[in-house]
Amino acid sequence: MEKILVDVLTKNGLLTGFAVIGLTMLVSYWLSSRFTRGKLHGSAIAIMLGLALAYVSGLFTGGQKGVADIPLLTGVGLLGGAMIRDFAITATAFGVNFQEIRKAGLSGVVSLLVGVVLSFVIGAAVAAAFGYTDAVSMATIGAGAVTYIVGPVTGAAIGASSDVIALSIAAGLVKAILVMVASPFFAPRIGLDNPRTAMVFGGMMGTTSGVCGALAAIDPKLVPYGAMTSTFYTGLGCLLGPSVLFLATQALVG
């Protein structure tokens, strides 16, 4: 009996994923209305719950893909994987007002450049403060502070050691998680309630998962605007990281 049940659940992984995530949403929205009277949005709780489950699963399985490393829950990996994620993010653009995007165009482009360069500089400075004073390590950790994809791409291109690359991925993950969890709390303070600011938010923070998770909790209508700019961020980081930014670091450190 039990074996048959487990077989059905693993064989139909994507469906198990829908059921498990649906249950997570149900619990989160219940917690939100019962204990915070809706103040802490249900989707924010769901994301935190997801991250907590990923942490616990990581401890038990020793894997790198959170709950997706549990054989029974590989379907969650499929549901939250790149294919469905890109599909669903694009779908949010369906109700977008193109005029808004045109109006915020300039600040969107500026935010992309400032976001990538500033994150890199801060990451590299922190690396130096912790004793990673060679240009390769500084640039790799700096690139990790851009996003967890730019870090390893840069590190591999300029020949960083694997522990430095691991550190750069960790820096990027910390950023993604922090953006997801913390930004909704501070959204009113920076005026993050309109398409223009959402686009700048996407360009400054860049981590697509963090940005879209945060905007989903703030106001789902803003998701497409933030997603639009953040999707260019990692590409720009991969372009600048191993080239201009690395060379500048090298020139500075010697």
């Binding site: 994923g17 649906g22 769901a46 997801g50 991250l51 907590a52 489950l53 990923a54 990581g58 959170g66 997706a68 969650v76 549901l79 939250g80 469905i84 890109d86 993010i89 694009t90 779908a91 653009a93 109700g95 977008v96 193109f98 109006k103 400032v114 500033l118 801060i122 990451g123 922190v126 690396a127 912790f130 990790g144 502070a145 791409v153 550190l167 991925i169 960790a170 820096a171 993950l173 910390v174 950023k175 993604a176 998680i177 922090l178 953006v179 997801m180 930004s183 920076i190 223009r196 600011t197 700048v200 400054m204 923070m205 998962s209 879209c212 998770g213 997603a227 590409g235 991969c238 372009l239």
Partner: protein
């Protein structure tokens, strides 16, 4: 038919990701450059074009709306497969690098958002009055 909407969405994503990959290869970057961004722009223009010609009946729209409504659960599923253990294990250097970069960029958002708006002129007018 509902599938028309889903098919339109799928076509936009595939074309967008293709453009992103071609662009990435062209500039020698090991990443997809703006693929989803292009997909979104394609979808906006395609739906605008169809709407004007009355070729976007409700069932077709529903084929897209379902996926846009399923978006938040997809993000939750995505959160559930992050390598949180590695982020925590990275130690103080990684945590500080990530957190500081996040905090500083976040604080600068209102400044950048003002670029290209006519806010300063509007302020001056208020003062003049």
């Amino acid at each position: 038919m509902t599938i028309y909407g889903t098919a339109l969405l799928a076509a936009c994503v595939l074309i967008g990701l293709f453009i992103g990959d071609v662009l990435g290869t062209a500039i020698g970057v090991k990443a997809n450059v703006g693929g989803v961004g292009f997909s979104m722009i394609l979808l906006i223009f395609a739906s605008e074009y169809l709407r004007k010609r009355d070729l976007l009946p409700t069932p077709t729209k529903e084929g897209v709306h379902f996926w846009s409504a399923i978006y938040i659960p997809v993000v939750v599923a995505m959160a559930a497969q992050q390598n949180v253990v590695a982020a925590v294990k990275g130690g103080p250097a990684a945590i500080l690098a990530g957190a500081l970069a996040t905090a500083v960029c976040y604080a600068l958002i209102p400044v950048i958002a003002r670029i290209g708006t006519k806010a300063p002129i509007a302020d001056a007018k208020v003062q003049a009055e």
